[in-house]
């Protein structure tokens, strides 16, 4: 994992000394490709005055404060990132009404609002994120500086309950006007699952002889599979 805090010294080469979450991330840092993601993240983080940045899996992620949000996105957009890809949010939550709870139980509960900008000449992109308070998720709208954010903000508003201050048309986008609740929040139940458990879950239950082990061989792939492909957490139990 390549990571940098603005209060840490400076260069991404020192990232190895930065606190690392778990053993897997350390392994990533060893063979992280030199694809320029870290350099790009650092460059834009300095440009917009970001709090911190990360660069994993080709994702240059720049974290800014709520006050910097509009200015940061606008600055990046005008400085080499003309293409607006999307705006969306993630509900980081310990309690989930649907799906499985997070493996990390100490997660910092928040809404993570993200916007992705790209160039129109190569594969470079940046993702600018900001953390919103769960109790009062509100932030200034990007629509006045980035017209494409209009519908994306309306979607995030109705799905997560985020208030975009100054949005020119703060109406629901997909949902009926009378709809109550915010469907993409983790606390929002999926009614069909409340009535009947998902039958599809059955086919991924552990087989009796391999209970709890994720490393069972795939019988469909015993023949004609690439021999060198079993890496990264896949055991060679069949060999």
């Amino acid at each position: 994992m390549t990571t940098n805090q603005s209060d840490a010294d400076e260069a991404p080469e020192e990232a190895a000394e930065a606190p690392v979450d778990d053993a897997e991330a350390t392994a990533d840092a060893a063979d992280a490709p030199a694809d320029g993601t870290a350099e790009r993240a650092q460059r834009f983080a300095e440009l917009v005055g970001a709090e911190s940045w990360t660069a994993d899996h080709g994702l240059a992620k720049i974290r800014v404060s709520n006050e910097q949000w509009v200015g940061a996105v606008s600055t990046a957009h005008k400085n080499g990132m003309p293409f607006f890809s999307f705006l969306s949010a993630v509900d980081w939550s310990r309690d989930v009404a649907v799906g499985e709870p997070l493996a990390d139980e100490d997660v910092d509960e928040r809404f993570e609002l993200m916007v992705r900008l790209s160039t129109l000449s190569n594969d470079d992109s940046i993702t600018i994120v900001t953390d919103l308070d769960k109790a009062n998720p509100a932030i200034d709208s990007l629509t006045p500086v980035l017209p494409g954010a209009n519908w994306h903000e309306r979607e995030a508003a109705e799905m997560f309950g985020i208030d975009f201050r100054g949005h020119p048309n703060p109406k629901k986008l997909y949902l009926p006007d009378a709809f109550e609740g915010f469907p993409l929040r983790k606390s929002f139940p999926l009614l069909s699952r409340e009535v009947k458990p998902w039958p599809g879950m059955v086919d991924v239950e552990a087989m009796p002889e391999s209970a709890g082990s994720p490393s069972t061989e795939n019988p469909e792939a015993t023949d004609g599979v690439a021999d060198d492909a079993a890496e990264g957490g896949v055991s060679d139990a069949d060999d």
Binding site: E24, H57, G58, L59, K61, P82, F83, F84, S85, F86, S88, V90, V98, G99, E100, L102, A103, D104, M114, R116, L120, D123, S125, T127, P147, G148, N150, W151, M159, K172, Y174, L175, P176, L184, F188, L190, R193, W198, G200, V204, S210, P214, S215, T216, E217, P219, E220, A221, T222, D223, G224, V225, A226, D227, A229, A230, E231, G232, G233, V234
Partner: protein, 397 residues
């Protein structure tokens, strides 16, 4: 037979005169069911005489909540969901999702599987663009091209069906490769059946026909005087405006931007093939049509090159039976027929994604419509709408 009372007639003519004196903005409702809306879309247009003063698209009729549904499904089950997003190019929707999960798992995909993915993705592109070639002239009054384009699309759908078993929703990708055909696997030992017999020759023949239909459409539509009058210089979208709205794919390239993710990213081995990127000059409806027509030729050429050079080998990397994707966050995007389609995938190491944000091309391509239609003529409204080539399943997700 009814007789008409002359006194009533006099009254009607008075009314019509007084209405004409008070021309005000009229609200014109288009849809929610209209042949040109490719799904269920409603447009609320405010018109002042022949001018459109503002348009508000009303979407959500096709909203199926895939982002929520993905949070209760395992990774292998999600491919069945995502190929219903843009249903005229179902196969192409699976690719960025499956590549995102594979990258987090650090799987090496066998080359033959990658080639099969690439061939089927390009077939999906041809199928999608042939729908445009049939529906767009139809929407502005030319009925004949529909018959020609749909006839040729059947060839492509037959090939997709022969490989995957499905014409629209193949659900053919597996983490680590593509689905082994029936009979492949443990029982047949060394014999791996993958592509159906005669597929490569059939594909070469069908792609030859694609060049022919492009020439035919060129003769039928491109030079047609009425078609040109309806499209040249209509609905001009400047490149900077398109980029700021997130318009991508052929719509962006028609505005003169030479940008195609197939050239710049490595989600499939496009770097092994020789192909051009068609780019428009004016960003009008005609350029959006022409770019797509040229892309059919390019896709056919890529498919022929891929069929000629497809390597032999396995179809599947070795994957665990119970698939858990290591914790991480990744965004993978692909050049789909409609534009940039991407998945922002957040995994916490479990069997199901914690969050899957679906960035679909048509959503942003349609979002530019209110800006594009402002102050246009009512007759151009459908011409501009159709030229954006969106599918409501891809807008609403």
């Amino acid at each position: 037979m009814q007789t008409i009372d002359p006194a009533a007639m006099a009254h009607i003519s008075e009314v019509s005169v007084s209405v004409e004196l008070q021309t005000a903005d009229m609200t014109l409702n288009i849809g929610p069911q209209h042949p040109s809306t490719h799904g269920v879309l409603r447009l609320v247009a405010k018109v002042d005489g022949e001018r459109v003063s503002s348009v508000e698209p009303v979407i959500g009729y096709m909203h199926r909540g895939y982002e929520k549904l993905a949070e209760v499904r395992t990774y292998p089950q999600i491919t069945a969901l995502v190929n219903r997003i843009d249903w005229v190019s179902g196969f192409a929707n699976e690719i960025p999702f499956i590549v995102a999960a594979e990258r987090l798992m650090e799987l090496e995909i066998p080359e033959r599987a990658q080639y099969i993915r690439l061939i089927l993705t390009e077939m999906a592109r041809i199928s999608s663009h042939l729908i445009f070639m049939s529906s767009y002239p139809l929407e502005i009054g030319a009925t004949t091209p529909l018959m020609y384009a749909l006839r040729e699309r059947e060839r492509v759908l037959d090939l997709i069906e022969a490989v995957t078993g499905g014409r629209f929703h193949p659900n053919f990708n597996r983490l680590g490769g593509v689905k082994p055909a029936a009979g492949a696997g443990a029982q047949t030992k060394k014999v791996v059946q993958d592509l159906p017999a005669g597929f490569l020759e059939g594909t070469r023949a069908a792609m030859g026909k694609m060049f022919e239909i492009c020439d035919e459409l060129e003769g039928l539509v491109t030079g047609n005087e009425i078609f040109q009058a309806r499209t040249v210089g209509i609905g001009v979208m400047p490149a900077d405006k398109a980029a700021a709205f997130g318009v991508s794919g052929p719509n962006l390239r028609a505005s003169g931007v030479d940008f195609d993710l197939r050239k710049h990213t490595d989600y499939l081995p496009y770097d092994k093939f020789d192909f051009d990127i068609p780019v428009g000059r004016n960003g009008d409806c005609f350029d959006r049509y022409q770019v797509r027509l040229d892309e059919i030729r390019n896709a056919a050429s890529i498919i022929i090159q891929a069929v000629d050079t497809i390597p032999s080998g396995p179809l599947q990397a070795k994957v665990p039976k119970i698939i858990k994707v290591p914790a991480g966050e990744i965004y993978v995007r692909a050049e789909n027929p409609k534009g940039e389609m991407g998945y922002h995938l957040i995994s916490d190491g479990g069997r199901i994604p914690y969050r899957l944000k679906i960035r679909s091309a048509s959503f942003s391509n349609l979002a530019v419509l209110p800006w594009l239609l402002e102050d246009q003529l009512v007759p151009d409204l459908i011409a501009i709408l159709g030229s954006l080539d969106f599918v409501l399943g891809d807008v609403d997700r």
